[in-house]
Symmetry: C2
């Protein structure tokens, strides 16, 4: 699996809107070819801190995700809601294969 | 979902043994009641750096994991292979439910 952890810090006043917009992105993403996970996580210690756990069969599948209408709509909508630039960290998924 | 990200740094000479032992833990863990994910990730930039992505339906399921034979065997086997204490970070999984 090709895995990306996307760390996102959201401005407090936009947390609810961020969750709603990310739900739409989640719904579209889990239907993409090669998608294995698109988990949306929130820190219990800081509700402004989110983590998107995105796993695809291949790097090509992950790149194709960034061309989808739901991703592009999400990217544009949430841009001004972030307290700082989001940060993606890539991992090689050993298990499951 | 109740999610824990476990960051592990392994001593270089023990990376292969760590992967083998973690594979056994993975195989047992994905069969546990309430388990949703038990993904084993390796950093492409630093092969000594691992991330275990563990998701359960509930915190109780996650706690029960720590009583299983495969977890206890893993914990004991890998203790001396780690370059530093492992670090667990808990998240509330919003999606999927």
């Amino acid at each position: 699996m090709f895995v990306t952890l996307v760390h996102v810090r959201v401005k407090p006043q936009h947390v609810d809107a961020f969750i709603n917009m990310t739900r739409a992105n989640h719904k579209g993403s889990v239907k993409e070819p090669g998608n294995r996970r698109f988990d949306v996580l929130q820190s219990p210690e800081d509700p402004c801190q989110f983590l998107l756990y995105e796993a695809f069969d291949s790097e090509a599948d992950a790149k194709a995700h960034k061309e989808t209408p739901h991703y592009l709509a999400w990217k544009e909508a949430v841009a001004d809601w972030m307290a700082e630039p989001r940060r993606g960290v890539v991992y090689h998924g050993l298990l499951p294969k």
